[in-house]
């Protein structure tokens, strides 16, 4: 944007000034629309349920602020279970994903490996064609007996080919001379991968951890088809129960019947906050990495 700082821009016509003002106004309006739903949820979660039910229109601040819905929420062990399961899936899944993806990207980024061409074809084909929902379900649940285990939620989709290709591009850019000298010192392939390649690719590994991590945090569908046992449910499945099927009766148990309905009204907002806050907390710090990932992917594509 150098030209903006350039002197020629100082002669702004009236039309341009009007445009600038309108543009800023449009952007403000847009930001408000983008942000309002989240603000609404935030305010509603801290509001008094009875006041909220009677309220009409845009919420600017919590109504009669109270922590009632949060207190109710934490009384329920269901969400804590969900949180725990999600954390297990997230940690194990991200670790497995990064391991598989980096190994695959490493091998495919090596030159002079005869079978790599075939490996690439086999792997890239799966981006464009697959067995489909039912055959995959049958393989995972019937053939491999992963039904009703947490394994089913992260092993079958551990490697994203798209992410692997981004990583391969990045690995291939590392100068060969580094590993050649390591090889002369007697380093094996694993040593080269973990001691040279990965430490040199911290940024791309960070991007991958974030992509996979957000994916595991937000996923719900596989859990809904593979899990029977409520003890194993991840957070998103409980969220679906509360938000989509509108079943807050379990959440509000322990409240008098009179209040049940009204607490149900705000409890869903506190649950959204509970489930989204971790991502919103890491977001500002990691935002530049997310964007970087898109850029690397775009350059590749």
């Amino acid at each position: 944007m150098k030209y903006r700082a350039n002197g020629s821009r100082l002669t702004i016509t009236k039309g341009q000034r009007v445009f600038n003002v309108f543009n800023v106004l449009i952007m403000i309006a847009l930001s408000v629309i983008m942000f309002y739903p989240m603000w609404h949820v935030f305010c509603a979660s801290f509001s008094n349920p009875k006041a909220l039910i009677g309220y009409r229109g845009i919420l600017l601040a919590p109504l009669e602020p109270t922590l009632l819905s949060y207190k109710m929420m934490f009384k329920n062990s269901m969400l804590i279970t969900g949180y725990k399961n999600t954390l297990i899936i997230l940690t194990a899944g991200t670790a497995l994903s990064i391991l598989l993806t980096s190994v695959c990207a490493y091998v495919l980024s090596r030159k002079n490996v005869y079978w790599n061409k075939l490996f690439s074809r086999i792997i890239i084909l799966t981006m464009f064609f697959g067995g489909g929902l039912v055959p995959t379900y049958l393989v995972v649940s019937k053939t491999l007996h992963m039904n009703n285990t947490l394994w089913a939620l992260f092993v079958p989709n551990a490697l994203s080919v798209y992410n692997m290709l981004i990583m391969r591009t990045s690995f291939a850019g590392i100068p060969q001379s580094l590993e050649e000298s390591a090889k002369l010192d007697g380093a094996g392939e694993w040593t080269i991968l973990f001691r040279i390649i990965i430490p040199l690719s911290k940024a791309i590994i960070a991007v991958m951890v974030l992509y996979y991590g957000v994916g595991y945090w937000n996923s719900w569908f596989d859990a809904s088809i593979y899990l029977k046992d409520r003890e194993l449910y991840p957070l998103q499945l409980f969220l679906r129960e509360i938000l989509i099927t509108n079943d807050t009766t379990q959440m509000a148990s322990g409240v008098g019947d009179m209040d049940k309905e009204s607490v149900g009204e705000t409890i869903k907002y506190s649950v959204i906050i509970f489930a989204t806050v971790p991502i919103l907390c890491v977001y500002p710090f990691l935002q530049k990495y997310f964007v970087q990932g898109v850029m690397i992917g775009a350059v590749k594509g």
Partner: protein, 316 residues
């Protein structure tokens, strides 16, 4: 020592067989590393492809794909001649095209407007706010959509304030597609601008200087410099989008639809899900899924062909 072998490689291999053995020897450790990855693809990607053969069978889990009775194209014919077929195809195309027409230009427009902002700080703030919805989980987004479009939700309230009659929008077939598309745009528009903003920053700034000297206004500059500058990116994104035109994901659909909107909301993928995993019509559902994948593949190959002609670059 390995290095020595590599330099010798070219001279020593006389036959293909010798070369292959040699390759196996030097790259042995790499091939060993690759085994878990190949096992992963075999188990989770290729075994299901083999399983997809059940689309041509009356599959029974006891007999497996190996032993079940082959019925040829029965399930495909049943699907194509079923009364619901044209409805499903129509819904899939309707949702897909609406999303193409409204969802595709939205990030381009936003990126152009962002690019015209004079204050870099303000631009950063706008970017950060608009990227945010991308990271919210689909379940939460659909929960928000449901909550906001209720007759006593925020949108209902606003309608009431302006003198309209509040409705629970998701119970009316005519509102399903708009709600679906608008919420999609809400979630994805900011994130979608990243690629265009990077293309915009690559446009040669001296062109703008020259245009300013020639007396071109801002609008003319956008028309004659900015848009042509990012046109290749737009074309690539459009072609990629066209390649997945029949690929409407079912997750959002099954979170948002209900009995009263089924007639417009049910797409091929959600039908596959329902018939396969709820009604347990395994063979029929696989056939429908296979039908959909093959059509997707044809669209993808077609759009890649166009891409090759236009950009001289290929996806593969």
């Amino acid at each position: 020592m390995i290095k020595k072998m590599q330099t010798n490689k070219k001279e020593t291999h006389t036959s293909k067989r010798q070369f292959l053995l040699h390759d196996l020897k030097i790259n042995r450790n790499l091939y060993i590393m690759m085994i878990p990855v190949l096992v992963y693809f075999l188990l989770f990607k290729y075994l299901p492809m083999y399983g997809a053969l059940m689309a041509f069978q009356d599959y029974s889990p006891k007999l497996g794909v190996w032993g079940s009775k082959w019925v040829g194209l029965k399930h495909f014919i049943n699907f194509v001649t079923a009364r619901s077929f044209w409805g499903l195809l129509g819904n899939t195309f309707r949702i897909s095209f609406s999303s193409l027409i409204f969802g595709f230009p939205a990030p381009i427009l936003l990126a152009l407007l962002m690019n015209e902002l004079q204050s870099m700080k303000f631009k950063k703030v706008v970017q950060n706010i608009t990227y945010l919805p991308h990271f919210i989980s689909l379940v939460v987004v659909c929960g928000l959509v449901k909550d906001f479009t209720m007759n006593d939700g925020v949108i209902g309230n606003l309608v009431e304030i302006f003198g309209g009659e509040p409705k629970t929008l998701l119970n009316y077939p005519e509102f399903f597609v708009p709600v679906y598309i608008i919420s999609d745009i809400w979630q994805g528009v900011g994130w979608g601008t990243i690629i265009y903003l990077s293309a915009l920053s690559a446009v040669d700034s001296t062109l703008y200087e020259a245009a300013t000297i020639d007396g071109a206004g801002r609008f003319k500059q956008v028309l004659h410099i900015t848009l042509p500058g990012i046109a290749p990116t737009i074309v690539i994104m459009l072609i990629l989008r066209l390649g997945s035109i029949l690929n409407v994901g079912f997750e959002k659909i099954i979170l948002l639809y209900n009995d009263s909107t089924m007639s417009v909301a049910d797409v091929i993928s959600s039908y596959v899900y329902r018939r396969g995993l709820i009604n347990l019509d395994w063979s029929f559902s696989s056939a429908v899924g296979l039908f959909n994948s093959v059509i997707n593949l044809i669209f993808l190959i077609g759009s890649n062909y166009i891409n090759k002609r236009v950009n001289e670059s290929s996806l593969w």
